[in-house]
Symmetry: C2
Subunit: 169 residues, 2 copies
DNA sequence: TATATTTTGTTATTTTTTTGGCAGATTGTA
DNA sequence: TACAATCTGCCAAAAAAATAACAAAATATA
């Protein structure tokens, strides 16, 4: 189903340890929980969304956040018309509040869903208040210290992969 | 800047041919266009968006589609309240219209931004009317013939990668 | 003009990843 | 109880990818 060989799955697992029992198999529930621990899904993290456009709103309503241990604490935008608008019970705030909010609410992760012109300044602020990680949906690569975890979602790249797929059957 | 060695870039290019001139270098504009051709970005494709929720709306307003040769021709949703609502000048239609629309308008690509319960039925319809490719934002893997190009954007996976990154510095 | 420098294409080497094979451990069956 | 059958962990082999090295071709410099 996953288009992966049994051998590869065993090798991959064994990079983190042995989770099964020879001759018997894997206990699926135990394995699932162990993988969750490896991925850090047993911990919870506080999160803010920067950019309350369509994508930001889609993510704010993204149910899986909680399931993965990410708790949406704040939403920010530079558009005054959105101030106070509630998404899942959380009011949109001005981006000027980010620095104080992150420091006071122990925020770990920022989701970036803003146009690229605002990215550099926003990232600077996030770095200054010691954010741990950035989930980056902006179409630029971020310039941050090594210690900050960045996970990019570059939809442009994905679209170009699709295009290549069509062009080559 | 890209954290890739010069050697690797040369190797990668040479999988598709030689684009430079020894001793002189690469003509950047020529190289850019050649890569665009390889990726199929010189052609245009007709596209529909299935699911006009926040994510669908975000993508409908996604400016880069046109730049990459993808033209949004139709938007569909099952929620009657959205019927007729215009996004970038295109009215949302009932999902029941998909089959006829795809056949009549020579649609190449479908963007799936619907909850997972509706996916199987929708994919069946898309396969039946010979869609070429699916850009899949739904949180399930699709069951389609080999000949159909599928590009998955699994945000859950990305979020778990982020989690792993934080858990391991 | 001769020589040094730069830069790509290509081949060789090294490293990494994937696959294959088998021993050890457990369950099922005659 | 003996013998298959099944399934994981681990090691070996094969394949793939990344890196290194160098020749060929162009420019820059003395």
């Amino acid at each position: 189903m996953m288009k992966v060989t049994a051998s590869q799955i065993r090798q991959d697992f064994n990079n983190f340890g042995g989770f099964g029992q020879q001759g018997y198999g894997y206990n699926v529930e135990y394995l699932y929980n162990e993988i969750a621990k490896i991925l850090g899904l047993d911990k919870t993290y506080n999160l803010i969304i920067v950019g309350a456009g369509h994508l930001g709103q889609a993510l704010a309503n993204y149910v899986n956040f909680e399931r993965r241990g990410f708790i949406v604490k704040g939403i920010f935008d530079k558009n005054p018309e959105l101030y106070g608008k509630e998404l899942r019970g959380i009011a949109v705030q001005p981006v000027g509040n980010i620095e104080r909010f992150v420091r006071e609410n122990d925020i770990d992760v920022a989701v970036l869903t803003i146009p690229k012109d605002g990215v550099a300044r926003t990232v600077e602020i996030l770095v200054r208040c010691n954010i741990k990680a950035i989930w980056n949906f902006a179409h630029v690569d971020l310039n941050v210290p090594e210690s900050i975890v960045v996970e990019n979602v570059h939809l442009s790249d994905s679209l170009m992969k699709l295009s290549y797929g069509i062009a080559n059957q």
